[in-house]
């Protein structure tokens, strides 16, 4: 395709924004030519300007090549102003694509949803996917290439590299983040062919390198382990947090794991999950059994598990002689029994960052259990490098340092921040003449590079790649690049081909090579469906080698464990306010990282473990690894392994952006008095301590404020969260009913029965369901929810919820419309953690409606509790009277700070959903059941069928749509066959605070656990105590 067509393919915002006429147009309330109309000025002129502005709407999203901007005299096909369009794309993360569908409003993408045709998504997403839309509109993103600290342009970059790389004898070191793109890997081959003295290393600070090495030890092949948890009755996670967004395949895994925990009748079965871990992970909180084991003892544990299994199944003879503290323990014996009796239907997984030898042990266990082919698969991944990238990276860095390279090309990665501290990456770069760096932010590496090139976001550039399981898809841009940026293929293409080639052409060419005939139609299908083939990777042949026990790595002193953060990962998402303000699924901390330690360890260090309400200033610890200290606030984490401290990466950034930066002066979001943004823990992460290290820990005596959204962690014996074991459920199906728990009927029911009513009577007018209207309701399956928090971000993205900053969160003013409550139950040292998403309950007898003096919150005919922002005067009485405390108040003009600060506020404003009001100071807001989506479907249903009742499943709330566990059901309660009605008929369905007679429309499906009877000491309480 020619350059011309590609260029006009997108009639971009950018181009229009650079148009003076258009600039004036957007600045003025009325188009200039609109006033000219009255002057008798030509109507054509008006149409031209209007046409241009609407072309912004039309052609940016339109797929057909258009050469000119035409007056909007005819409505382009499919474009109806106000009606969003959805296009498929895919988001790369750690080199793996997740298929997405992106909502576009008048040419600008506003919301990301999962693509149900794509196996890595199945229609759902995780928090990173949801927040990626904000990343594109991030005003702090790198906006233009930088040459030696001075603003440059991609044109200059192109001419420079054409010249510089003309000499193919240049010694070039390529450091790339993981990338599965066939186009990109084709360019990689080309680059290695073109430059004789080139080296290529794939570098990810956290990733599956060790797992691949482990498979290499176990099977002699550098292959990927891919689980199919649908086929696993028993899942053993050895500190593998596969449900967390930090895992590259968490959405697919979450769907698989939760699918096996969807219990709709007493006949259903469930999988059983064992989690062995040092910190409290999301997977651990979802497990039926959780064992606290120090990370440094995981090798011993794996050996002991193999040893215990060796007497039960064949193939693990080399472990028979293993004897350590875990062998013979009750837990491991029961676990081995359970695994052995479920051989072929179980899966054992291990966290990526454990040593390759331990991965080999786990592979041997899975192999001996005959799990391969059912619950575990080995995939031949064509783009894997044939080398151990961790050692290759270390060697490359020292080689660069020695001056063996003329140029270093860093694509995507940020090794200046994330590389092991002992490699002295930044200093090593001075050994090269030129450092080229492509990245989304002007980050630590960019600042050391002689050429920094702004990276196009995946939503604005063409690309392609494979999912974790091998599904091939195209990354389809939704908008012309907002800034002067290049995608990674354009960047690498410029260096390799020394020419300027469009990303679109390259991707198309790659895909045309897969199809010898009828490519044109296939191409359109790929773009339309967002997926090409699902079996892009073949199953690897497996010939098990003899695996010997992994060397013990036990640390007897306190160990420090370094993990990627659930919110900001390795730091790449640090400038995304949504993620910074997303409470950690377990600790509920926002904006900071902390040193997590067990109550016993805290006490031994002299740190108080008392729980109290209020702004907690946490004692600061000094954690030293090999003499390098970091200072981090301590946080007592019940259930954490003793003598172990977990820290998370990605915080403590400087010069990245207003959100990420530590105590940034320029940001109004952050309090200058209390620093925020956490602490950089990479200085203690060295080549020898990538996951854990022995640490010297002392309390400094300083205090640091932490913004945590949940101050109280016990249910106080209350019945908001109800659960039972699967065995108990089979005995007593309605274990979660009010009567089962309290041993008496719901107050008022007996009296109501006498009056012939089916609900207790009320003083207030009852809401009557309007005939012919749908009645909306929601059910949340607590058995599926594992607490990841994607619902919170999806809701934030859909409903324009502002980011309020650490100071405001610290004051307890978080704005999230749906929150995820986490309670600890049982033993203080090793509690169970449960998650409960709480949106507005949309009570039929809503207490908030009764007390509002100005009737700003009222009931709709379709049974929703509505909030009229324009009418609200802000007495906050409704929030006080809400027993569920789901109402949120605009204490300040939050959107103003969030949307108008910075030099380029127009950009962040584009991330807002035009269908949802941006709320002003002094008004109350809360979950609306995504009323804008409901009404959109109601209107189209009414147009099509005459009835305002959309078919079941056509209306999805943002939280429901995002949830990878499918824990949220939403629909019409007047429809007897709707999914939500079916769920509400389940015996486990219960109402929170049923005795208040507020009649919530949101109900919960009580949780079930499936503990191993051999490990259950006493009968589980029927509900939380």
């Amino acid at each position: 395709m020619s350059e011309l067509t590609q260029k006009t393919y997108w009639k971009s915002l950018n181009e229009l924004a650079q148009n003076k006429e258009y600039e004036k147009f957007v600045e003025r309330e009325f188009p200039e030519n609109a006033t000219e109309l009255s002057d008798g000025f030509s109507r054509k002129g008006f149409l031209r300007v209007m046409g241009a502005s609407i072309a912004l709407a039309g052609f940016a999203a339109c797929r057909r090549p258009v050469q000119k901007i035409l007056p909007y005299s005819k409505q382009p096909e499919d474009i109806v102003p106000g009606i969003p369009l959805f296009y498929a794309s895919a988001m790369p993360f750690q080199g793996n694509l997740t298929g997405l569908v992106v909502e576009n409003h008048e040419g600008r993408p506003t919301k990301v949803e999962g693509n149900d045709l794509h196996p890595a998504s199945g229609g759902n997403t995780n928090a990173y996917h949801q927040a990626s839309i904000l990343e594109m509109y991030d005003p702090d993103r790198s906006k233009f290439p930088v040459r030696n600290g001075a603003k440059s342009s991609t044109t200059d970059f192109h001419s420079f590299v054409a010249d510089y790389f003309a000499d193919t004898n240049k010694r070039v070191a390529f450091i790339s983040e993981a990338n599965s793109s066939p186009t990109y890997n084709g360019l990689k081959e080309e680059a290695l062919n073109r430059f004789d003295n080139a080296e290529w290393v794939t570098y990810e600070p956290f990733g599956e390198d060790n797992a691949i090495e482990g498979n290499n030890i176990a099977f002699g092949r550098r292959v990927r382990t891919h689980y199919n948890f649908t086929n696993a009755d028993i899942i053993v996670s050895l500190d593998d947090d596969f449900l967390a967004p930090t895992h590259p395949n968490n959405v697919e895994y979450a769907k698989q794991v939760t699918f096996r925990r969807k219990v709709t009748s007493q006949q259903d079965t469930m999988n059983r999950i064992y989690s062995v871990e040092n910190g409290f992970t999301i997977t651990g909180s979802y497990a039926d059994h959780r064992k606290r084991v120090k990370a440094s003892e995981m090798a011993d544990f794996a050996n002991a598990l193999a040893a215990t299994l060796s007497s039960r199944i064949s193939g693990l003879n080399s472990f028979a002689s293993v004897n350590n503290k875990f062998t013979g323990s009750e837990f491991i014996t029961v676990l081995a029994d359970d695994l052995a009796s479920n051989a072929g239907r179980s899966a054992v997984s291990l966290g990526f960052d454990y040593a390759p030898e331990v991965h080999a042990v786990v592979a041997a266990i899975n192999s001996a259990l005959d799990n391969y082919g059912t619950a575990v698969n080995l995939l031949q991944v064509p783009h894997f490098d044939n080398q151990n990238n961790k050692t290759a990276f270390a060697n490359l860095v020292s080689s660069i340092s020695d001056g063996n390279f003329d140029a270093v090309v860093i694509i995507g990665a940020n090794p200046a921040l994330t590389a092991p501290a002992d490699l002295n990456f930044t200093e090593a770069l001075s050994g090269a003449d030129e450092v080229f760096h492509l990245s989304t932010y002007n980050d630590e590496t960019a600042k050391t590079a002689s050429w920094h090139v702004a990276r196009s976001h995946y939503l604005e550039a063409w690309g392609d790649g494979y999912s974790f399981s091998g599904a091939r898809a195209v990354i389809q841009p939704q908008i012309q690049p907002l800034h002067d940026s290049l995608s990674e293929i354009e960047f690498l293409g410029a260096i390799t081909n020394a020419g300027k080639i469009s990303g679109y052409d390259m991707v198309r060419e790659t895909f045309s090579s897969f199809y010898s005939r009828n490519f044109e139609n296939r191409w359109l299908d790929i773009l339309h469906d967002g997926i090409d083939v699902t079996d892009g990777f073949s199953t690897a042949n497996r010939s098990a080698r003899n695996v010997s026990p992994a060397p013990s790595t036990t640390i007897n002193e306190i160990e420090v464990v370094i993990k990627p953060d659930n919110s900001v990962y390795d730091g790449r998402f640090a400038n995304l306010g949504w993620l910074q303000e997303l409470p950690d699924p377990i600790t509920k901390i926002t904006w900071d990282n902390v040193a997590l330690l067990s109550p016993a360890t805290a006490e031994s260090l002299g740190i108080s473990t008392d729980d109290y309400l209020g702004k907690a200033k946490q004692p600061v610890l000094n954690i030293a690894v090999n003499g390098t200290p970091i200072k981090l606030a301590a946080w007592v984490q019940p259930g954490h392994a003793d003598d172990s401290i977990t820290v998370h990466t990605g915080y403590g950034r400087e010069g990245i952006g207003r959100v990420a930066d530590v105590s940034s002066e320029s940001s109004q979001l952050l309090d200058p008095e209390t620093t925020s943004g956490g602490v950089n823990v990479y200085p203690i992460r060295t080549s020898s301590s990538m996951l854990f290290a022995q640490a010297g820990v002392s309390v400094t005596g300083e205090k640091y404020p932490i913004a945590c959204v949940q101050d109280h962690h016990s249910l106080e014996g209350r019945d908001m969260y109800r659960q039972a074991t699967l065995a108990k459920y089979k005995e007593k199906a309605d274990y979660a009913s009010f009567e089962s728990i309290h041993k008496y009927a719901v107050p008022g029911m007996a009296e109501a029965a006498e009056l012939g009513e089916d609900q207790p009577i009320s003083l207030f007018n009852e809401q009557t369901a309007v005939e012919g209207e749908p009645q909306w309701g929601m059910a949340i399956d607590l058995n599926a929810c594992f607490g990841c928090g994607v619902c919170i971000i999806a809701c934030q993205s859909e409903n324009n919820i502002p980011v309020i900053g650490k100071r405001e969160v610290e004051r307890g003013r978080e704005m999230h419309w749906i929150r995820n409550d986490r309670y600890y139950m049982g033993d203080k040292e090793n509690p169970q953690a449960v998650h409960q998403p709480v949106p507005c309950m949309h009570c039929e007898l809503a207490p908030c409606e009764q007390v509002c003096p100005v009737a700003a919150t009222t009931h709709s005919d379709d049974g929703m509790n509505q909030m009229t922002y324009n009418r609200c005067i802000g007495t906050r009485y409704c929030a006080n009277n809400c027993p569920f405390k789901v109402r949120r108040f605009n204490f300040f003009n939050y959107p103003k700070e969030y949307l108008t600060s910075g030099e380029d506020p127009d950009i962040i404003q584009m991330a807002m959903n035009p269908e949802v009001t941006v709320r002003f100071i002094g008004v109350m807001e809360k979950c609306t059941y995504c009323v804008q989506r409901v009404n959109r479907e109601k209107i189209s249903a009414k147009i099509e069928t005459g009835s305002p009742k959309p078919a079941d499943g056509t209306v999805q709330t943002a939280c429901q749509q995002a949830c990878p566990a499918d824990a949220i059901y939403f629909g019409d309660l007047t429809d007897e066959n709707s999914e939500v009605t079916k769920m509400k008929r389940n015996e486990r369905n219960y109402l929170m605070l049923e005795e208040l007679n507020v009649r919530p429309r949101t109900s919960y499906i009580a949780k079930l656990t499936n503990p191993n009877p051999a490990l259950v000491k006493e009968t589980n309480e029927e509900y939380a105590q």
Partner: protein, 475 residues
């Protein structure tokens, strides 16, 4: 000696006063040149008033976020202060209206004073509900203003009832106070020497001539207003308590609130009257009219209402336990032992224990001690409202939402600022209006009683022997 000894009421006005000296004593304060000390008092009062205005201005500019409110605790100091000031504003009308209807003559010494305090306290109270809303510029939506959208306020909402209750109370209290002032304004008009005063007082005296007809109309109007004001004394704090009681928050949703709030309001109102009276009578030399006997009577009321409040506290606990509702039980246990236990025990000490000292006659006649207790009681009553408002919201149904509330400097400054408004108004009152109801005091003097005054001897029959014995005894 007869079988029953008649113990007469102690004289309500001490000292050898006649009508003229009473008039002079009271009106001199208004007609003398302004004393320097008045300016000295006005200075800090105005400064605090300025502080209030600055606090409100900043609040409207920045948003309610400048206060310490958070997600579970949507009402903090503003509502506490509102209820507290309204409570204080109870004493005046109670003294004027209810005691008037019960013919408690001792009220005359303090009614004007207490009514003025009521009006200013209600003004201070009224500030808070207005400014605590998020969007003060549309606060008029709480009034049933006819509009083209036919959008009425929500008549189910106790906050709306509040708007009516407090505004009615304020209006009736103001009218009642003003009607009582009319004869005294005429006195000031007549005694004033300069033109401005003559005109100003004359204007407000409504052409009072002191004729029998004027007195007849006056007495009727006063009686009717007293009748109207009496139910309001009970209703206003009942409705304020509905703000809490009608909601469904544990610790708020209790039927005991109306009587308990009214008792508490009288309790705090009397304490505030005492605080002010003790200072004012000293400075203005009104000890003959505002006597220790008055103080003692008021102390008894404080003790009684304090005990009622204490009883209510215990009943709350009992009912919480007796109801069997776990959230009710939990909130009362949390009040006494939870994160706000310190506030709870301050409240218990100040409101329940401290007034019990008034069982001792010596203490209830001790001026210094009374002054001290009156302040302690008002601190206690402030904490009562704090405990009710904050603890219930802070730790309600879902433990996940529990959060601690602490005020910011702006909360404190706004509260302190309302004292500026209060004292500014009060000082203006003391300066320009008679602080004692001259006409009414004269009525309760022996000279005012036609049966006790002997024109011939020009003596008052004050001796016990000369008082006619009750007929029952004679028979």
């Amino acid at each position: 000696m007869s079988k029953y000894e008649y113990i007469p009421e102690p004289a309500l006005v001490k000292g050898n006063h006649d009508f003229a000296s009473i008039t002079k004593l009271v009106t001199d304060v208004n007609l003398r040149p302004t004393p320097k000390n008045w300016y000295l008092a006005m200075l800090p009062a105005n400064a605090l008033l300025g502080l209030l205005l600055v606090s409100i201005g900043y609040l409207i500019w920045e948003g309610t976020g400048i206060w310490g409110l958070n997600n579970p605790v949507g009402w903090g100091w503003a509502i506490i202060n509102f209820v507290w000031w309204v409570g204080i504003g109870h004493a005046g009308t109670l003294i004027s209206a209810i005691l008037f209807l019960f013919r408690q003559d001792w009220r005359t010494a303090i009614n004007r004073f207490a009514e003025a305090m009521t009006i200013f306290a209600v003004m201070c109270a009224g500030v808070f509900p207005a400014i605590h809303v998020g969007r003060i510029w549309v606060i008029y939506w709480v009034f049933p203003v006819p509009n083209q959208m036919a959008m009425w306020p929500n008549f189910n909402s106790p906050l709306l009832w509040d708007v009516f209750a407090v505004s009615t109370y304020f209006t009736v209290s103001l009218l009642f106070w003003y009607v009582g002032l009319v004869p005294d304004l005429a006195t000031l008009r007549d005694k004033a020497t300069d033109k401005i005063r003559k005109v100003a007082y004359g204007l407000f005296a409504l052409g009072w001539t002191g004729s029998s007809r004027a007195w007849w109309n006056y007495e009727k109007a006063y009686m009717i207003l007293a009748g109207l004001a009496t139910p309001l004394v009970l209703s206003v704090h009942t409705i304020v308590s509905f703000d809490f009681a009608v909601s469904m928050i544990p610790g708020w949703h209790t039927t005991i609130f109306p009587p308990y709030f009214v008792a508490g309001a009288i309790f705090s109102g009397f304490a505030m009257v005492l605080t002010l009276m003790i200072v004012a009578r000293k400075i203005y030399g009104m000890k003959d009219i505002m006597t220790d006997d008055h103080m003692e009577k008021m102390n008894i009321i404080i003790m009684v209402t304090g005990s009622m409040v204490g009883f209510a506290y215990m009943m709350e606990f009992f009912i919480a336990w007796y109801s069997g509702v776990e959230y009710e039980k939990a909130i009362f246990m949390l009040r006494a032992t939870g994160p706000y236990a310190w506030a709870y025990w301050i409240m218990m000490f100040c409101n329940v224990i401290s007034p019990q000292v008034f069982w001792f006659k010596k203490l209830r006649r001790s001026v210094g001690f009374t002054f001290f207790i009156s302040i302690v009681v008002n601190i206690g009553m402030w904490f009562e409202r704090f405990v009710i408002t904050v603890t219930s919201l802070s730790t309600d149904y879902l433990p996940s939402s529990w959060d601690y509330y602490s005020p910011t400097a702006w909360d404190v400054l706004t509260y302190v600022g309302t004292f500026g408004l209060f004292f500014t108004m009060f000082l203006l009152f003391l300066r320009f209006l008679p602080m004692i109801a001259i006409a009414e005091v004269k009525l309760v003097m022996p000279q005012g009683d036609p049966h006790n005054y002997d024109d011939e001897t020009q003596e008052y029959h004050l001796h016990v022997e000369e008082v006619p014995q009750p007929k029952a005894v004679k028979a």
